[in-house]
Symmetry: D2
Subunit: 422 residues, 4 copies
């Protein structure tokens, strides 16, 4: 990277840019689990566009469909008009995802970003229940527009709102305090299911099953089940924001599948488009589809290029070996991380997360950041998470092969070693 | 359109869908100013993706660049990392748009939809001023997430929030009451520049220079100049939401150019991506760039396919004849609409808007809707606007040729005739 | 006043104290329209406890009843239990005030201060209509608790809230802009009675017929009638805050009587207790009495000493000559103020208000304050009003005799003269 | 009580009246711990005006001073002007209350009701810290105006607001969940003292040391000390709302004295006036006195009759035997209530509260209400508390003699017996 090429960003782009500071180079090409900068330097991608590239970069099958569609002058932008590519996506989503899981949900295209899905979910829950309050959870992250931000816990991001955030109540996420689920739930029920607590009856509870930005906190299946039960008991809707943990990241298409719960509303985005193209879905039980036409909208609801790649991406899920492969590689990651914790006691590491959303927490100040910075030096892209950036986070593409995964893990080992011993 | 192909949408897609009801067919291909449905029926596009397709559908030059980029495995999704295609866009935007207009602005990528640009603009204005209140204007439309919705005037959309919207004050847009600008401004100043009015000192004034959704109300240049002056006087920032009226729609790249004003913050989206791909920019004067890294973010900030087409689209603006062409065709539209008003007195029509954002207002109940519905029957896509859908709105691509434009206008003439006489 | 006696206040009482700075002495006794400080110095009272002492200080008839009640150990504090003295008050209020005016209203005791009456009125209006927004008017003042403050316009007082005030919309009070009532109403109707204005349908419109704190702005009868009509048209309740202008201050018992309107809710406090004792009433049309028991409450709702004096005070209104006397003295005040304006052109005075709530506005900086300060030196107590303290305000007791009134006016003449010529 | 005398209330007074339903008679006279209705029937008062009559009704010494002051035409109403009687109160409060307790506080008169004290405390805390959020506690009650209501937990009362209440966060009060203080505090600290919890840094923590309305929950001294420490650690002010538990009700003048804490702000009202007359104080540490003059105000801040009786009431506290007597009688109450619990196992009673703010909780539906209703039949006035009215509450005057106390307790015994066995 020469200084002058970065100058363009420094001179013209806002100071708000962030990842360009963690990864100070100019990227140019990408394929599968690899990124290349302008100088041709190769990087292994343990970041996956913060979960938007679960199928890796520029997947060949999707790419072929995409180019074909563009070549044929398929309609690109269609708002919420009916289009052939949208119909194909809806049908494929129904047959490849919903039906096999015995799930009955209506699909809404709320605008092509995660925060649009969350905002529409909050609107719908408030409309259905006639209530204004929404319960969110400690360390949750749901987006940066005002409604989504009001259910997000990060102090720095909340302050950015510039106005007090309202109509929400925070409850402790699983293991936020170190108590058995039963004790935790007693506490939450005390607040949400009795008079006099001062918590206004909520329209919804919104949560991630694994908190990506919040530090890779993974809720237990028992806790998720209890929360679903509580929501029913108090007449509130359960919203699972599966934007980061979904689409396979936690090991199954929907992250909550192992818990056997059926959320009332599900938010999807990031990898749902398959190719890294902007797309978001809000799913809800058919009986909740009380929207009036146009009550929520957005210009880029009909991103047909994303419909095309999203449809192609669903093919992965037709073959059971795909999910099995995720599981095997997840175990590789778990074993490796456990090994690191044992090998480097000075790390004071703690294993976090599950599936392809795992990492190590270390409360030694700045250490996780150093590991990630060293990794970049080693040619490995990864980021930190948690309110104090105390977790380094492994987000390889689900499609990475074992050799690639091992190569990345080896680089990480070196990065940890360097952080502790340099 | 056979019934069963629509069934997919009825069965699987949410009731919130809207344009698919106005335009009841399944679109498949598109080129320039033409759309084609599955049966091959051709439609002239006087809608342009609600302003997102100012350059028409699948422009050949952009298409070539897009396919080339995809073929070469250019990075598709890059968050806010530095990428070659982003740098090329920034450089082109600087050299083709900002410099020739003698404008000095920093560029922020706030997430790829208009509402993200607006939300980020509101955050920045509140941060800079330390104030919470924001002044918006009657019939303004700025987006559907909670912050943008709080500055949007449409009753139906506001109610959809499900919570009271706060931290905003509404002022009358130009000509909202039928008074000279001087009288109007006296009123607004009385509220914003004196003690005791009960309007808390605002962080910003946010407005569209021509209100697209609000009924094609075009502010006069004098009013815009007075508003800019007022904002300065009271220490508030002026935000121009140029998402719909900008990128040539109102005749110049920025809609406010004829007024000679320099907004503190400018929101762009819709057609900035060129090809109908999701992209949004928040521009602000360099001295306002007080963002901390990551204080606002979003997963799809780095939509490189859109950078590629956006860069190519800027080429149009290098040739002065492009803007001149817009002007000539705008005059065709104006003349035609005036002719319609004269030809059909029963329409009780009133000319609205300017440039390529023009239409006719008729307060005869449901008439504008009938015109648009008839137009669709005639093979012309257009929509209505205004709080009571009282305006039919002509939004052809800027790149339409005069023959295409005339063909569309002829269809519109027939549609009006049919609406009045059938 | 010796320094040491003030020391107690400086050392022990908060800096928030205000009138003790305008009137720097220690008051001790009071009778009728006269106040006496500790040194025995006599002051004529053109202030009347900011409208809480319309019957003057320590009225002999009320005093006798009050002492008798205390002597007999009548119950003093009774919350909202039934008490004999409360019943007597209710009966007297019904027979002496409501019936003669052909008014049918339920009486609520919301807590003994004006702000309690306003807060309860806002709650009731929101409950009845199911709407959250409330329209208030420029320069209005309704109290200092959070709900009342949200409908108060004074910038300094609003900032004191420490949080953004919400769920309210400001509209221009009569003559806020210099236009005929018809033009003003067209503007207000445009905002409140049409779609797309961005003003959420209000639960209520709240206003004072003469704005005491806001600068003695007196609404015209026509404007009040139009506002009543508008409220009906849009399904909003009309709340008249008659706390300062009511109980005879504007010339009739209710300030709005000359307009012939029937507000849905009326707030009374200040002089309703007769003797300066804390009492407040919220009146509403019987069909609006949808309160659940205890839905609004307060410890001092049952201030029986105030019931006793309030009942005695109502006797004044049995004799028609009382109201006639107010009118005659009001004319004396008007004539005098007009004379001052003519006599002192340097004052650039403008007559404000009506009845016993009149004053002179002068926009010469600090001049009104100087007049009031000089008046105090002369032994006349009066205060300023308006967002910039630009009005000096005459608030004599209604019971003042003409000699006393003239003596006060003479002092004021001297104070003006001194302010302009010293 | 004849039907027709109640008719006045039914016909003229709002349905919002509440205690007049629990105690269906018309009260007329009162002395010490006794109330008399119009028919002359005597009632023992275990209610004390909900804590506003800690010195009983119409105390002879205060009565004499009050009548003397009225006879002499002492000024009655003085806003926040300096008056002799206010100075005497300030001096007495300083010498009799603050100095002996080694407390240094400025005194603010925020308007004469408890909710005014709370609203002013919230304003001040927000001003001092520049923060908007305030932490309140489960089952807390602080008043019925919008700011106070936002920190009140009762669902029914909150709904009465008619708007979502904002800028507050609820934390669990001591023993809200059954855990040791250390565990409870770990939880609260986790929320208030770490990043990522989603609780915005608070301006203040507001609490009652014994929750009167909330069900006589008494915080432990250890918990109060830990809360004070936490507040300091996070830069928040500690506000103790001592309106109901203070002025001796919990056994000492300030309820928090046994805990040894020094709140930053203290709210007093109810019994501070001594005679049941409206008065309220906001006390704060001198360094917090950052009010601008008039930044909070109110018409009845200067209720001089209340200053006179409040000053006289402070005499009680000069004699140490007064506090000792409260303690002895508190023990009588405790012993009696324990006896009741043992004697009536069917009551499933649990002892609640401390000092003169004690009662019995029974979760048998409606039972506490029956006990209170029976007590009224027996000639004993008492009320219920708690979110489900599950506590019957003993609030005798502090000045009751042991015979009177015993007589009331005997009636209560009979009322319980009747409730269980009738």
């Amino acid at each position: 990277m020469s200084v002058n090429v970065m100058n363009v960003f420094e001179q013209l782009e806002s100071e708000v840019r962030s990842y360009s500071r963690s990864f100070p180079t100019v990227f140019h090409k990408a394929k599968g689990y690899k990124l290349y900068d302008e100088s041709g330097k190769e990087y292994i991608d343990f970041f996956s566009g913060a979960g938007a590239l679960n199928y890796g970069h520029n997947d060949d099958q999707m790419k072929a469909k995409l180019i074909e569609y563009i070549q044929e002058d398929g309609i690109t932008h269609s708002l919420d008009m009916a289009s052939k590519s949208k119909r194909e996506f809806l049908s494929a989503f129904q047959s490849s995802i919903l039906e096999p899981r015995n799930m009955s949900y209506k699909v809404m295209f709320p605008g092509p970003t995660g925060t649009n899905a969350v905002e529409s979910a909050l609107k719908l829950a408030r409309k259905i229940t006639g209530r204004t309050n929404v319960v969110s959870f400690t360390n949750g992250f749901h987006g940066m527009t005002l409604g989504s931000l009001s259910v997000t816990s990060n102090d720095f991001k909340r302050k950015g709102a510039g106005v007090p955030l309202s109509n929400t109540t925070i409850m402790p996420y699983d293991k936020y305090v170190d108590e058995p689920v039963e004790t935790q739930m007693k506490y939450i029920r005390r607040f949400l299911a009795t008079n006099g607590s001062g918590v206004d009856a909520p329209a919804a509870l919104i949560l991630e099953t694994v908190q990506g930005e919040g530090g890779l906190n993974a809720a237990s299946m028992e806790w998720l089940q209890e929360i679903e039960k509580l929501a029913k008991d108090i007449g509130a809707l359960l919203i699972v924001d599966d934007i980061q943990a979904g689409v396979g990241r936690a090991g199954t298409f929907f992250s909550f599948e192992p818990a056997g719960i059926k959320p009332d509303i599900i938010c999807l985005s990031k990898s749902i488009g398959g190719y890294g193209l902007p797309l978001a879905l809000t799913l809800f039980k058919p009986e909740l589809d009380k929207w009036a036409p146009g009550e929520h909208n957005g210009t880029f609801r009909g991103n047909n290029l994303a419909f095309v790649t999203a449809t192609a991406a669903l093919d992965y899920w037709k073959d059971p070996s795909f999910e099995k492969g995720i599981e095997e590689k997840s175990q590789m990651i778990t074993s490796f991380l456990q090994l690191m914790i044992d090998k480097y006691p000075a790390l004071e590491g703690k294993l976090k997360g599950r599936g392809f959303i795992q990492g190590i927490r270390t409360d030694i100040p700045d250490l996780a950041g150093k590991v990630a910075a060293n990794a970049f030096e080693q040619g490995l892209i990864m980021e930190t998470a948690g309110p104090n950036d105390e977790v380094f986070k492994l987000f390889p593409p689900l499609t990475i092969d074992k050799e690639g995964l091992q190569a990345g893990l080896d680089k990480l080992d070196a990065a940890i070693d360097q952080a502790l011993n340099a």
